[in-house]
Symmetry: D2
Subunit: 351 residues, 4 copies
């Protein structure tokens, strides 16, 4: 198979043969591209195929142009779905497409699926054709992930907001949460639109999907999992009240949530530090945080402050990495018993 | 006086002689510069002096370099404080400096003062040497402003946040307010600092002064003025809970505030439209708003949304104009009985 | 006519009746929008119509959203082409469309036309249906413009590059010119494309149309007009060798051209200062220039430097104003005998 | 030594013991920070010390805040200069400081030095205290580098410009070169200045050091090394005529150079492809290039175009990586006989 041959010619030779054979469905989009960037340097992965019907036959670097000189892989219109030839498939085809893909194809149960989209995140959607999808927020479900067959990778806003709230939920302390979060333009994918037009978006800020963002479902589900008294789904009354903003930058999510609490700041810090003591990528920061501490990495940083009876928790991630493809690879590492951080020791852009 | 002679040589000749004679103290900073930009095109103002001791003798365009070709005015180390030679003085010298200026100088009572800083905004600070400063938020205090001698010009965040809340306060509907607002870098002035360094701030977001921003005082004071049950000052318990963010753009403030309410969205819209029906620069927008609708103008646009029992009010201003020098000029127009919009019909940057 | 009635309701009342009646064809694009922004504040213009078939019936502020609160004008699908009801028409419909418009309509010769596009800029294209178009670079052709019927408004790059070279051409000093210029994204209009997508363009730089940009024709024509020995059109051998770059900002053009010369720096400065001594908007700067000195204004600033036998001339403009709609209005002012700067005393964004 | 102990606690455990022991002098600046980011993930390097007198005792992540969670290393005021305890020292202390460092300290000749600054780049400066510094442009001097003791790492602009010209120089084809290049703000380091202030630099462009940039020396020296007829140093007459621009982005350099040539485009492409056939990080691109293809990587991409008798060569690098710390590490890899790409397979930011 020519893509495999190509992968051996890769100038930056990964370990290659004998590794985990990974396929990507929807490899021409942003999350697919990020996965290619990560996987070509992952020491235990061999790319089995990068599917993109509209780009079949093209070199990957013709679409993801930064990859010139790094890989000779090509896009393929074919899928490899036979046991032994592929071990895991990343579904990056867009919301709704993953479900269609599973329904349309006979995929041996030994092949693991990781869906970057939102098709299988809610418990009510998590079962399909005898497959069960585990919600892949590692900081919440690590043990279940390690033995999972399939992963529903969390949404980007959902990841950043939940990581800021999990310690409170575990301690049963969550009440109403007032959240504002700002996201980079890559969160909206690569399709052209008025709000992704440079002349409009540069130096601009705007709200959208106020109090109705689609990630509220998975957020409530996770918080309810840890704190039974918290509503399992958004109702417009109690729960997380979330105002998303479009930012004038490309990558990253910054979240601030305001919550009532009687605990002292020190007690709260202890909660957070304990909760994330063993997390590979999520860390409590004693000093103020800024977005570019995590851009181009798989990390999440968290800081809390308090005044009167209100606490504010700030959290930051890279929406395409910890909020999508990086977290998907972290999940893959766990599925295959590897160190969580393999292939994810990424240099931050910082400046 | 050579500056006056210079002003007559101004290529873009303002009406000049016979107009309002205006002085600027602290003319080399951002707000001073914006005032110069506005005043040289104001048809009824003649600039009496632009004080900046560190730049005395320089042409104004040597500091505010965009003014090359538009004015031959120079900075002066002198002050003109004699009746008949100056009618109004804008104090742009930085927080704390206005008070020192008033204390140090004998200024005839006929000369009006407009302080861009925060020295006289709170009622407890508003009286000094038989001068009383009226809080210059036109949408709140228009009648008092029209007959005022001195103006304490509102803060930038304070302006944007209050304009989003005044209609609710007037209707007695305010409860706890959960506010996040993002500001451009010019809000921090032109002094050099780590957080205004381009390499750090570009593409970055960060919170600061969480729940403790100094504008909370004037915000509470105004809301309490309209709704007696709202706390007169921030306490950390009830009131406005405000998280300010540094944005990666230069100009503008975007605010979203979340508030509990039983009113319907239609009732709320009616409240807002009625409240601002006669406002010259503040308008309710039926469609979603974005920051660049107002950048480089003196306008404020407001939009509200509702879900369940929560409403969100979004408001946008240019921090240096409606949030500082533009509002100061609007106040000056009112002090002298001019149309509020004189000299303030500014072309938005939009893109 | 309802638009006229609307214009009287304009909150920022322009002089209105009795003024120059102006129509805009293609009012929904960037240059059309900028014209509306300028014309509603022009003291001697009354807007007769703003044509946009796709937006007919909508308020102008529904498309140009910054205009909310400033005008109640609506887009119209109709054209007003009858004597007495319109005095001047701005053609902003896109390259090629102006020619079609003139060919398709019977327009009384008393109605003046100003084409923002490139249909009539070259001498060979300048005559159509007994109309002659004068190339509207004021610094080159002011006298001809004052008595012209129709104007071919210069291109944005063409304006910035020519203004940097005219003094040399007039002195007969031009040899090969090596030019690099960078433009804001608005130069590419508001259509969506891969290179105007925010996620791609932010923080990015790229060259395009290397040595082949379509403005080279009008540039050579003008330089040849002043210096007969300079080629009248681009040949790929002698002349202006121009590399255009896409910048990661929205507005403005920065040009640096390198030219061989035997003159001293002082002699060169004298040439430039003399050439532009009477120009209303183009000024020689003794200190280094930067782009934001002119953004959101109709100005051009120029600075030159010299080392060995090479001089470098830097020039900056706002591509949508001096490079398009502002220059068009400057031309209109001249066509109607007004002061060139009327309605064009614009506040720079500066920060 | 406690830093070494700390390095073993590093969460992302590098190979550690037995590797190359590297020290960094000036570890708190941009290039020092980038080196730390690279070295902590380099499989064959152990960090011996990170010297910064002003930050001694602080955790590295307190200064380079993105490193929180990745390393427990601390800054040290001490230097380790004894054989066996350090194998290579990176000098990142700023121009002029490296020379002082070498003069002030007794450094065993077995310890290799890599100077990121410009102290030893010119042949006339390359010898000091029996040490000889090889100019570390790998694409030019690979063989000399492999057997070198000390490296003078090339400047950022110098790297990008030279890589665009080396194939022509080798073929003896260089004549006058007209170069414009734009750089990100990180090129100016982290010191605060008017031109690195966010409010000024955002959305701005400006030229500086026109035709006089200090990198012209090393550029001419290298080109002369390959083409004897090319001047060995800048004279203001023949050679490279270079206009540097400040860009409104943080990272990267984009260069376009215009050169006379009689060769066809195909012949030129062949020259470039052959010259870089074996280069690890420098690649000829058949399609147009843009800056973000290389940001956050150690790569250089090159594309050429031709019209008439003029060719234009475009080249792009990340100024902090290929233009500084990445190239330094590439040099280190060669000094120690490692694969050039070790530790440098970096994920591009791309968006």
């Amino acid at each position: 198979m020519s893509n495999l041959e190509n992968s051996k010619k890769n100038k930056y030779t990964p370990s290659g043969d004998g590794g985990i054979k990974a396929g990507i469905v929807g490899g021409a989009g942003y999350t697919g591209g990020e996965l290619v960037r990560l996987l070509i340097n992952h020491p235990q992965v061999e790319i089995a195929f990068i599917n993109s019907s509209s780009n079949a036959g093209k070199f990957v670097y013709e679409v993801h142009k930064d990859l010139l000189g790094e890989t000779e892989l090509k896009f393929s219109s074919e899928l490899i779905l036979s046991e032994g030839n592929v071990d895991v498939i990343f579904l990056c085809a867009g919301h709704g497409e993953a479900k269609k893909f599973v329904e349309a194809n006979e995929i041996p149960s030994s092949i693991k699926l990781i869906d970057i989209g939102n098709d299988f995140r809610l418990a009510k959607d998590a079962n399909i054709k005898e497959r069960n999808f585990v919600y892949g927020l590692v900081e919440l479900n690590k043990i279940q992930i390690q033995s999972a067959q399939n992963i529903a990778n969390p949404g980007c806003f959902a990841t950043a907001i939940q990581l800021g709230l999990l310690p409170l939920a575990k301690a049963g302390l969550l009440k109403d949460v007032y959240t504002t979060a700002i996201t980079g333009s890559t969160g909206a994918g690569q399709s052209l639109s008025a709000t992704s037009h440079f002349s409009w978006r540069a130096n601009n800020i705007s709200a959208y999907k106020t109090l109705t963002h689609q990630h509220l479902g998975e957020i409530h589900q996770s918080l309810h999992q840890l704190q039974n008294s918290f509503p399992n789904s958004p109702s417009g009354v109690g729960g997380v009240h979330f105002v998303p903003w479009r930012g004038d930058f490309t990558r990253g999510i910054y979240v601030s949530s305001i919550i009532d609490t009687d605990l002292s700041l020190d007690e709260l810090k202890t909660l957070y530090k304990n909760f994330y003591a063993d997390a590979a990528f999520t860390h409590y920061s004693d000093s103020m945080i800024d977005l570019k501490q995590v851009v181009n990495t798989n990390k999440c940083l968290i800081n809390i402050e308090k005044q009167g009876n209100k606490m504010v928790v700030h959290s930051v991630i890279d929406n395409l990495l910890k909020g999508a493809s990086g977290q998907a690879l972290q999940n893959m590492n766990l599925l295959f018993g590897l160190d969580e951080t393999t292939g994810l020791k990424l240099k931050a852009i910082r400046f």
